[in-house]
């Protein structure tokens, strides 16, 4: 099957400022691609380039197997949902949804049929005669989605569609978008700065920084095997612990030495990874530092740590300590015995550990 969206060697610059550098992404039909990164990383610009709203400086974009590099937005067979919803303020909800069809000269009967269909799908029938100003944020969001759905395009584009909603509604709409994607089987490109949104929605994630792609992969790949320190730090909440450590070769694997604030260093043995340089940055997810009684796999090893802060969060309790000169977070269970200022035995699971080179920030294992 040919890719539904294929971006090759895309460059974008404003004057002498390069916004996007050598972007190569392609997705298969039915994929949910999420572009994620901090603000200013170029993800929204990339989406606008895909939509044809921004001309590109170099490279090519094809949608549905056709070269669309220089095609105007209306002929790209796309639909877009915007952060501010961008509903036409003077038109009713019904007119907002049918405006595109009206412009393209679709006959009235088809317009009515499609409108009814989309309104039923999104449960917005009672709102059809209202104006955007009379709707709540969540309702506007639905109308904006309706306007995209009615188009039945090859590719849906979402530009941070949930960032104007309150936290509770955001989670609800997130689930709804996911359900919509599953039901329609449509191909979607979704921009967000929220890494949880990225993880929950995507079938494929592109992590960007400074106009450069840092890593492309499935959510699991991005989470478990981040390609560099930036991705490791950006994806996951709380963030991955990045602890400076020393690696020494030993008979049964690699000894990893982490300094503590008081007492000798913690020494862990990694049996899987060999041939590491002496200076490494150890990347451990908070859930891989846990109460000792919970984990019993061969890769776990226990060590005594001095707990600085305990943060109960309902389902879990986070404990913060200092290792290797950095704050390190452990995800403990809710009824943990950890107390601030007191030492506690914690088990480290090195099964999914990442190593990075301190100078380049690149992954070593």
């Amino acid at each position: 099957m040919s890719p539904i969206l294929d971006i090759k060697n895309l460059y974008k610059s404003y004057g002498t400022t390069e916004i996007l550098k050598d972007i190569n992404v392609s997705i298969e039909p039915g994929d949910f691609l999420v572009l994620v990164g901090p603000s200013g990383c170029g993800k929204s610009t990339l989406l606008n380039c895909i939509a044809g709203l921004e001309p590109i400086t170099g490279g090519s974009i094809s949608i549905g197997g056709k070269d669309m590099t220089h095609v105007s937005p209306k002929d790209r067979d796309i639909a877009m949902v915007f952060q501010s919803y961008a509903l036409y303020p003077t038109m009713t909800v019904a007119k907002n949804i049918t405006f595109g069809m009206k412009v393209r000269g679709v006959d009235q009967a088809t317009q009515d049929k499609k409108l009814a269909q989309v309104a039923a799908q999104l449960q917005i029938e009672p709102l059809l005669n209202r104006r955007p100003g009379q709707l709540s944020g969540g309702q506007r969001q639905r109308v904006a989605m309706g306007r995209a759905l009615v188009r039945d395009p090859k590719l849906f584009l979402f530009d941070e569609p949930l960032s104007n909603l309150d936290a509770k509604l955001r989670v609800e709409m997130r689930t709804e978008i996911k359900a919509l994607h599953q039901n329609l089987g449509a191909s979607m490109v979704y921009v967000t700065h929220d890494q949880i949104e990225a993880m929950t929605l995507a079938t494929k994630i592109v992590v960007m920084k400074g106009g450069v792609i840092q890593q492309i992969g499935s959510p699991a790949e991005i989470y478990n095997r981040p390609a560099n320190l930036f991705v490791a730090d950006f994806m996951g909440s709380p963030a991955m612990n990045l602890i400076p450590a020393k690696a020494h070769r030993a008979d049964d694997g690699t000894r990893i030495e982490i300094t503590r604030k008081s007492g000798g260093p913690i020494v862990l043995t990694d049996t899987k990874n060999r041939d590491l340089p002496e200076d490494v940055i150890l990347g451990v997810r908070p859930e891989d530092i846990a109460d000792p009684d919970l984990r019993g796999s061969e890769s776990t090893q226990a060590a005594e740590c001095l707990i600085d802060i305990v943060e109960p969060a309902g389902a879990d309790t986070f404990a913060v300590m200092q290792l290797g000169g950095k704050h390190v977070t452990a995800r403990l269970h809710a009824e943990t015995t950890a107390k601030p200022g007191q030492p506690k035995r914690l088990s480290f699971d090195l099964g999914k550990v990442s190593y990075f080179a301190p100078e380049t920030g690149l992954r070593l294992n």
């Binding site: 939509a51 709203l53 501010s84 961008a86 036409y88 303020p89 405006f99 595109g100 412009v103």
Partner: protein, 297 residues
């Protein structure tokens, strides 16, 4: 004991507030009276006969109300050798003002839309240049404009005056609309582009319907400017195409013999009525439009 003293203190501050409020009203009332005085004198004088004006008091109410002066001013007063009153000139002004207001408003809206929403290379420079046009004094453009009108063959005609007012008004109307449209999120234009709408479709279907407040502001501003204009009117018109302001000047300044104050006053009020009317009808929107901020959908 403390309770009683407390309430009396509260009462005192309450009365203090009321007194202050009344002082404010009185001061405002006095100012209003002061500003209305000229209008009062104009209206009462226009309703008096010449005899009464000569013998009576300037601010006295008319003894016998007569509309003769109004009748003369409208259709009988002499401007030089013709004695047709302000009526033909009043129509000239309408023929000039209405198309000039309509065209300059529409073009201003289009310009503002382009400068604010279709960012192109040099958009800011073009906008700055148009803004600069607002600050060019009338007198500076008189000679070049006369030459231009001559070349175009519309010197001394009503279309010529419309042209002058449209050109001179464009800077202001563009500024008004640009500042209004710049508050509208660019995503609205993007959404319409994705929906397949083009440049004019987006303007007509999305931006113009949003623009009522700023249209009202622009229309009031332009109408007042154009209706009250004297310099362009006197410079670029000839007999038969003069606007009402020029006619008023001629009536007041070219009479010989007895000065007919009542007719002058009536003519002046007639000349001022349309702008007054526009402001009263649309003034509410004027304030609203000037303070209107974003139109978050």
């Amino acid at each position: 004991m403390t309770d009683i003293s407390m309430t009396s203190a509260q009462n005192q501050s309450q009365t203090g507030k009321i007194v202050l409020r009344w002082l404010l009203y009185i001061a405002l009332g006095l100012f209003a009276l002061f500003y209305l005085m000229p209008l009062f004198v104009m209206i009462t004088t226009s309703l008096k006969s010449l005899d009464e004006i000569r013998t009576g008091d300037l601010i006295a109410l008319p003894r016998d109300v007569t509309f003769d002066a109004w009748r003369t001013a409208w259709s009988g007063a002499c401007t030089g050798i013709q004695c047709e009153g302000v009526r033909p000139y009043f129509w000239n002004s309408i023929l000039i003002a209405i198309p000039a207001v309509a065209i300059s408003t529409l073009l201003g809206a289009m310009n503002g839309y382009v400068v604010a929403q279709w960012r192109f290379r040099g958009a800011n420079i073009i906008f700055s240049l148009m803004l600069f046009g607002c600050f060019i004094p009338f007198q500076v453009v008189l000679l070049p404009m006369a030459r231009t009108l001559g070349i175009m063959g519309i010197a001394g005609t009503i279309p010529g005056l419309i042209f002058v007012h449209v050109i001179y008004g464009l800077g202001f109307t563009t500024l008004f609309f640009r500042n209004y449209y710049v508050t509208i999120p660019a995503e609205l234009t993007k959404a319409a582009k994705v929906d397949g709408a083009g440049f004019f479709r987006i303007f007509w279907s999305i931006f113009l319907p949003l623009s009522l407040p700023i249209i009202v502001v622009t229309v009031i501003w332009q109408f007042t400017q154009i209706w009250n204009d004297f310099l362009f009117g006197v410079s670029f018109s000839q007999a038969g195409t003069q606007p009402v302001t020029v006619a008023l000047n001629n009536i007041v300044n070219s009479t010989t013999g007895v000065k007919e104050y009542n007719v002058d006053m009536a003519a002046a009020i007639i000349a001022a009525l349309p702008t007054l009317f526009v402001y009263v009808v649309a003034g509410k929107y004027f304030i609203r439009g000037l303070t209107a901020g974003s139109v978050k959908g």
